[in-house]
């Protein structure tokens, strides 16, 4: 691979001029030096010059000293581009003979996976000359079927993140791996004496078989060592199944089978490791429903709006405590022994009647889901209800836990902190976790950490925890190291690198091996050892097969049919007084682990469309009562702890509920995401996802809230249309007359159809578009000014009473109008129509009059107000798709229907002398969509999938009255009339 790793540790014995090379290479931002004189004009430079080139120094007297120095600095600066890399001894030569199969400019795809919350997200990585530029869901994977989410799409930027930790650090200062090895070896030797007494390992959720094997090996060497798992956003895990079935089990909601789903504060379609799988299954069910094969009914009771609630036909706004009461009532309704119905209010009774009716109408095809962040006893109760409605084994299946758990009694973070505070921990090794930031309120991790004699943190970033540790080891990103992991269904994937590490980093398995005294094995050897043990003789073939497929076939655990062991019914929870705070993972930051990822920072949150920050969401009623408006700064006090944040008035939120999200208020030095929003971890006690008794006070100040959509009421327009039944036709306007004649379109002529009945507003398409099309990120201030650059946006609208509105999403790419006002407006022919029906933007012809955008009824065009790209650090440039032009300052840009993909397919087809097949061109957004809401193809071919959709009675054009004849059309959402009163389906 020609990409030699770039920066490296300052090893001993390097030439002293190397330090000047470092001044050019070892920087956090770009290396600016104003002049060569500045670079050369220091006494050190002169001294180094004498040392390095004594002859030149003697010349200095003869030549003009200044010009000599300038010449030396110039060559040094030029050599700085290549000359001072860590692995400079590795010879890099251009291809003399091209490696087999490697054609410059032709992408190669590798199957791999990235992990999210410990679970594998199977992916295909597109690489150019060994440089990954795009991740897509692996379409062959049995669980995801190619579905992806925002986190998978954005993982690529995590690889190229210039803020990543690039070298080991000791006490915060750069150190060498040799010194690190020394320190680890000494600690390990010392631990041998005590059988590992005092050694603690802290990780996130582990599904990696290799890591499990390594941890088990450590346990064998040091029996007294203990392993703790801290996954801040994980719910109560297996507690519910352990209660009911007597053993921990993973639950799998089969949304593809369940025709009536009652969600009590559950958000199966919302962000999380399950999202892609659930969304794919739900969309399969939804498609079947639209074909008339069974129902697809969702009933949701929740306090905080969720994506599932948005898609639900019947959403009840219920306080957190009332959700539990509703579950009890449902249990009583279906005859769970010992459950008695609590008193319900009018609308609660109505909703419950609907829910019961829906479940009864679909016997054996129903499902009741309690949120994973509900108290375990209520999740257990939901299992009992599922038993009654016959969902166990059909709508809800079980497997042995996919994640590897520490043996009984090892416990979680609070147990660890307790031991640390008691002085029982002498060595703490933290792998890919950031407890100094994510520790719950009341668990004083920072103070306890002081008492630990040896603190080692391995992570992608030098984060809050790393800053408190003796040693920080930079981890390799998953896309540059070998590993393995299991997806949520348990199917294992081998994580193979798409590129050699950029920096002097080690894989997580190497760190664990180091701990065990192995300093020689690479990650690949370690991972292979795991699978070699399992596969034995068949290893070579199966390994190769697993790498090609991207997963190990048949590695998912078999479903089990557990018997109910215990039937406890919890009491009705007391109604909460005052304000209840609900804590939620952030839809783009999760627990803050992605806060340095600009793509995710700038992805608008599904409801508020807020970017670069989190908000204190309050209900419209509370806002009216307290005189709060969006952007007002408030102080929130909960159990004596307080935080300050910006208010967001969130329609559809329960009246006295305040919703907080994690992931902001980061304090790591130099981090991209540091300084935005508030830190909700500082307020949340261990194990609680909601807490009553909050106090809210206005500070009188205002905070900037950068939202991409300031106005979310549909205002009586019909941007998102609905039909009552799948077969119902959307009313269509007659063809309006036009000044211009209708064009004849030759095949192929491209068009898109977006099914609003399938879109769940997850934003995967938005981030996929960013990654595919080199869309620049602009930052909080510019987003607040309305200058975000997303080519594809997901509009969100409310309709109805703000207390309980209906909520709609609508992805809006360029409409590629057949009669595009933008084309008429442009004075220089910079936006023109192609023969295959695309509205093209010619960047190098554009002079930036912005007429096209002024004339665009859909406002999908984006303008480069500044030079957004040329200041990007080299790492970020490497992330760019070489097939897509990087736009300069002052030009307009917009969705191209991924014209580069069309061109690539067209070239292939032409070479093979055949037409382009339907479905052969897949746009980035279409590929990313977990619900297959987007269809793309040749609209002149009546047999194409997209033509099929456009012929649907549900098909309509956005702003038909503007008479632009858009090529992007929508399919109306199926929403039975009066669904707030409980319709038939929906």
């Amino acid at each position: 691979m020609p990409d030699a790793p770039r920066d490296g540790p300052a090893g001993p014995g390097r030439p002293s001029t190397a330090r000047f090379g470092e001044r050019l290479a070892g920087r956090t931002g770009r290396a600016f030096w104003r002049s060569l004189e500045e670079l050369a004009g220091t006494p050190e430079f002169a001294a180094a010059l004498r040392e390095e080139f004594p002859a030149a120094a003697s010349l200095a007297g003869v030549l003009d000293r200044r010009s000599l120095l300038r010449a030396m600095a110039a060559s040094l600066a030029l050599s700085g581009l290549t000359g001072f890399e860590a692995h400079a001894e590795e010879t890099a030569l251009p291809y003399v003979e091209q490696p087999e199969g490697e054609v410059p400019g032709i992408a190669r795809w590798y199957a791999t996976a990235v992990t999210f919350g410990g679970f594998a997200q199977p992916a295909l990585g597109k690489t150019y000359a060994g440089r990954p530029v795009k991740l897509e869901g692996n379409p062959d994977h049995p669980a995801t079927g190619g579905a992806s989410d925002v986190f998978l799409q954005a993982a690529l930027l995590g690889l190229y993140d210039p803020g990543r930790s690039q070298a080991p650090r000791r006490l915060g200062r750069p150190a060498t791996w040799a010194a690190f090895d020394d320190a680890v070896l000494r600690t390990a030797t010392a631990l041998d004496a005590t059988q590992g007494e005092g050694l603690r390992l802290l990780t996130g959720t582990v599904t990696s078989p290799t890591m499990a094997r390594q941890i088990a090996a450590l346990g064998t060497r040091w029996p007294k060592a203990r392993w703790h798992v801290w996954e801040p956003m994980a719910g109560s895990g297996h507690e519910a199944t352990a209660r009911v079935f007597g053993r921990p089990l993973d639950m799998h909601a089969r949304l593809d089978r369940a025709e009536a789903v009652v969600c009590l504060d559950a958000d199966p379609l919302g962000p999380g490791a399950h999202q892609s799988v659930n969304a794919r299954r739900w969309s399969a069910r939804r498609e079947a429903f639209r074909r008339g094969e069974g129902g697809c009914r969702f009933l949701v009771a929740e306090a905080v709006p969720s994506l599932t609630g948005m898609m639900a036909g019947d959403r009840l706004v219920a306080a957190e405590a009332r959700v539990a009461a509703l579950l009890l009532a449902l249990a009583a309704e279906f005859g769970v022994a010992g459950a008695s119905a609590p008193d319900l209010a009018g609308d609660e009774r109505r909703w419950l009647a609907d829910a019961s009716a829906a479940l009864r109408a679909a016997p054996g095809r129903g499902l009741v889901l309690a949120g994973e962040r509900q108290p375990p006893e209520f999740q257990a109760l939901a299992l009992l209800v599922n038993e009654r409605i016959g969902a166990l084994g059909t709508g809800l299946t079980f497997t042995a836990p996919v994640a590897v758990a520490p043996p009984e009694g090892m416990g979680s973070l609070p147990a660890l902190v307790e031991d640390m505070a008691a002085g029982q921990v002498s060595a703490l090794v933290m792998l890919g976790t950031n407890p100094a930031y994510t520790a719950p309120a009341g668990v004083d991790f920072r103070a306890a950490l002081d008492k630990v004699a040896f603190r080692l943190h391995a992570g992608l970033h030098h984060d809050e925890t790393a800053a408190l540790c003796h040693w920080h080891a930079p981890l390799a990103h998953e896309l540059e190291s070998w590993s393995d992991a299991r997806a949520v269904d348990g199917t294992a994937s081998i994580v193979q690198p798409l590129i050699r590490p950029f920096y002097a980093v080690r894989g997580v398995h190497e760190i664990l091996a180091n701990l065990a005294g192995d300093f020689g094995s690479g990650s690949r050897d370690i991972v292979q050892a795991t699978w070699r043990d399992w596969w034995g003789e068949a290893f070579d073939g199966r390994w190769r097969d697993a790498l090609l497929r991207g997963f190990v076939e048949g590695s998912a655990p078999d479903p089990v049919t557990p018997a109910v062991a215990t039937r406890d019914v919890p009491p009705v929870p007391a109604a909460a007084d005052g304000l209840t705070v609900c804590f939620r993972p952030d839809p783009t930051m999760w627990d803050g682990r992605f806060s340095d990822n600009a793509w995710l920072q700038e992805t608008p949150k599904p409801f508020s469309k807020v970017t670069w920050g989190n908000v204190v969401a309050v209900s419209p009623a509370l806002a009216a009562e307290r005189g709060l408006a969006t952007g007002d700064e408030v102080t929130l006090t909960l159990s004596g702890r307080r935080l300050t944040g910006a208010v967001w008035v969130m329609p559809g939120q329960e009246r006295s509920t305040l919703a907080l999200t994690f992931g902001y208020g980061r304090r790591h030095e130099g981090g991209l995401g540091a300084g935005f929003g508030y830190d909700a971890f500082a307020l949340r006690p261990e194990g609680r996802w909601s807490l009553a008794g909050a106090e809210l006070a206005k500070t009188g100040g205002r905070q900037q809230v950068a939202t991409t959509q300031t106005h979310q009421a549909m205002d009586g327009f019909d941007f998102v249309r609905t039909v009552a039944t799948p077969g119902e036709a959307v009313p269509k306007a007659d063809d309006a007359p036009s000044f211009y004649p209708r064009r004849h379109w030759d095949s192929p002529s491209w068009g898109m159809s977006i099914d609003l009945d399938s879109c769940i507003g997850c934003n995967a398409c938005v981030v996929a578009c960013v990654a595919e099309n080199n869309v620049p990120m602009v930052g909080k201030d510019l987003v607040a000014q309305g200058r975000e650059m997303h080519w594809l946006r997901v509009d969100h609208y409310y309709e109805g009473d703000p207390a309980a509105p209906k909520s709609y999403v609508q992805p809006v790419p360029c409409m590629h109008c057949e009669q595009a006002p933008c084309e008429m407006g442009c004075p220089v022919n910079a936006t023109v129509h192609s023969s295959d029906g695309l509205n093209l933007q010619v960047y190098n012809r554009c002079i930036g009059t912005r007429t096209c955008s002024s004339f665009c009824p859909y406002k999908v065009r984006r303008f480069n107000w500044f030079d957004f790209t040329s200041a990007d650090p080299p790492e970020m440039r490497a992330a760019r798709n070489p097939d897509v032009t990087v736009r300069g300052r002052g030009v307009m840009e917009k969705c191209t229907y991924c014209v580069q993909r069309i061109a690539e397919t067209r070239i292939t087809a032409q070479k093979e002398g055949r037409p382009i097949h339907d479905g052969e061109v897949v746009t980035a957004c279409q590929q990313a969509c977990p619900t297959r809401a987007i269809s793309f193809g040749d609209v002149t071919d009546a047999a194409s999938a997209v033509s099929g959709r456009k012929a649907s009675p549900r098909s309509y054009a956005l702003l038909e009255e503007a008479n632009t004849r858009p090529r992007t059309t929508y399919l109306a959402r199926v929403e039975p009339a009066g669904n707030d009163g409980g319709g038939e389906a929906g």
Partner: protein, 448 residues
């Protein structure tokens, strides 16, 4: 003119003396220098704000998606509109033979010239890549790409360029005889050379006058339709877009009348100021102020009709989107610009029904100032209230001009003021020979 009696010859000489003495021996240099220093200061502001703009990009301004255009375009229309009054007064009244124009036409033309320069700078500066503005011109390039002739901007480019050329020609042709008169009275060598070169060898021969008359009238004949076509064309910048509040057929006449309205207001202001500052009460008389007031009132009422027609159109058509825009104008975030325009344009204007107000310089000046501001508000309103809330609710966003935009606006006033002050200081501000011509004709009539 051959048998003009002695005393009247003196009167003619007095007129020439009065006009040419201004550039040769400026009467009030102190006031001029103060004003000029102020103009230079504004010019500096222009250099700084345009420099920052060119260095960093249009992002320095407050524009966004959806409000792609802001102050730059509304000022462009405003400046160009102001310019039109100069052409109307000079060229149209010349062709109509309205002699009273002679007291006003010279500085009105100069105003046109500098306003067009300001107007022309704006669309170039507002480009994302201003250094490529010439791509709008149909020149034979190696790229063999032509401008897009359906675009209103292409025609804007032609229109402004043509208008600038014709305005320069018309103004310069008109001033040549007076430059010659000034040359003949110049005492210092430097003045003689300067005015001598500028006068292009004018000797006042009969043939000169004949050719001059043809050229002047011909240019005037070209200039008059330009007033209509240029501002109609500018209105298409809006009207061609399918944006609620813009795509209206009333726009072309509405824009032309508005342009004349704002232009007459600025001419009135300049007339009042120059008359006072340079002591030209005998040349710019009450009658002229009165006529300016009448014109202002007339064009103002026509503009008011445009306002009414626009609202009527919307209500009559009843399109939801258009009604929404109308509502935004009347009560939305930028309602101040709508009501500001209505009040500033039409309320003080009603005083001009009274001759006693029209002939008094100060009230006329204040009313004209109010109209100038009102028409600025109107341009801003038409642009912003349509764009900030267009079709899709999801894209709605407000626009707030940044300090750099205001800086450029202030600077642009400097771009207007500085050359105008130089004109006042160094060139004959009033057409003395045309005034004399009228006087002679009057006398002939009296003799007859």
């Amino acid at each position: 003119m051959s048998d003009v009696a002695g005393p009247s010859r003196d009167r003619f000489a007095a007129v020439t003396e009065e006009v040419t003495s201004i550039p040769l021996r400026y009467p009030e240099p102190r006031g001029w220098w103060i004003l000029f220093a102020f103009a230079l200061l504004l010019l500096m502001v222009f250099v700084v704000s345009a420099g920052a703009l060119l260095r960093y990009g249009v992002g320095m301004w407050g524009n966004n998606i959806p409000v792609n255009w802001g102050l730059a375009i509304s000022n462009y229309i405003w400046f160009l509109g102001i310019g039109h009054a100069g052409t109307l007064i000079s060229a149209m009244l010349l062709l109509l033979g309205a002699h009273w124009r002679n007291a006003l036409n010279r500085f009105a033309e100069a105003m046109t010239l500098f306003a067009v320069v300001c107007a022309g700078l704006y669309p170039i500066l507002h480009l994302g890549r201003p250094w490529l503005f010439y791509w709008m011109a149909p020149y034979p390039s190696t790229m063999t790409v032509w401008p897009q002739f359906k675009s209103p901007l292409t025609w804007d480019f032609f229109a402004v360029l043509t208008y600038l050329t014709v305005s320069v020609l018309f103004w310069y042709i008109g001033i040549v005889p007076d430059l010659a008169a000034t040359r003949d009275r110049a005492r210092t060598r430097r003045q003689q050379v300067f005015y001598g070169l500028a006068a292009l060898g004018w000797r006042g021969s009969a043939r000169h006058w004949a050719r001059w008359g043809q050229a002047y009238r011909l240019t005037a004949a070209i200039a008059v339709p330009l007033v209509v076509s240029v501002h109609s064309e500018i209105s298409l910048l809006f009207a061609a877009g399918p944006i609620p509040g813009w795509s209206s057929t009333v726009f072309p006449p509405y824009f032309v009348l508005g342009a004349a309205f704002s232009g007459f207001a600025v001419v009135a202001m300049i007339a009042v100021v120059l008359r006072h500052a340079l002591g030209l009460q005998d040349l710019v008389r009450e009658r002229h102020l009165d006529l300016l007031g009448i014109f202002l009132l007339a064009t103002g009422l026509m503009t008011a009709y445009g306002y009414w027609a626009e609202v009527f159109d919307v209500l009559y058509a009843g399109e939801k989107q258009e009604l929404g825009t109308l509502q935004d104008r009347l009560v939305g975030a930028y309602a101040w610009s709508y009501w500001g325009a209505v009040v500033a344009n039409f309320v003080p204007l009603q005083l001009l029904w009274f001759r006693s107000i029209r002939v008094r310089p100060l009230p006329l000046f204040l009313i004209a100032l109010s109209v100038t501001i009102g028409m600025w508000l109107e341009r801003y309103m038409l642009l912003v209230t349509s764009l900030y809330r267009d079709w899709l609710v999801s894209s709605w966003a407000e626009y707030h001009a940044s300090v750099w935009e205001w800086g450029l606006f202030a600077g642009m006033l400097g771009v207007f003021l500085a050359p105008f002050l130089l004109f006042v200081r160094f060139l004959p501000v009033i057409s003395s020979f045309e005034i004399k011509e009228v006087m002679a004709e009057d006398e002939e009539e009296r003799h007859a």
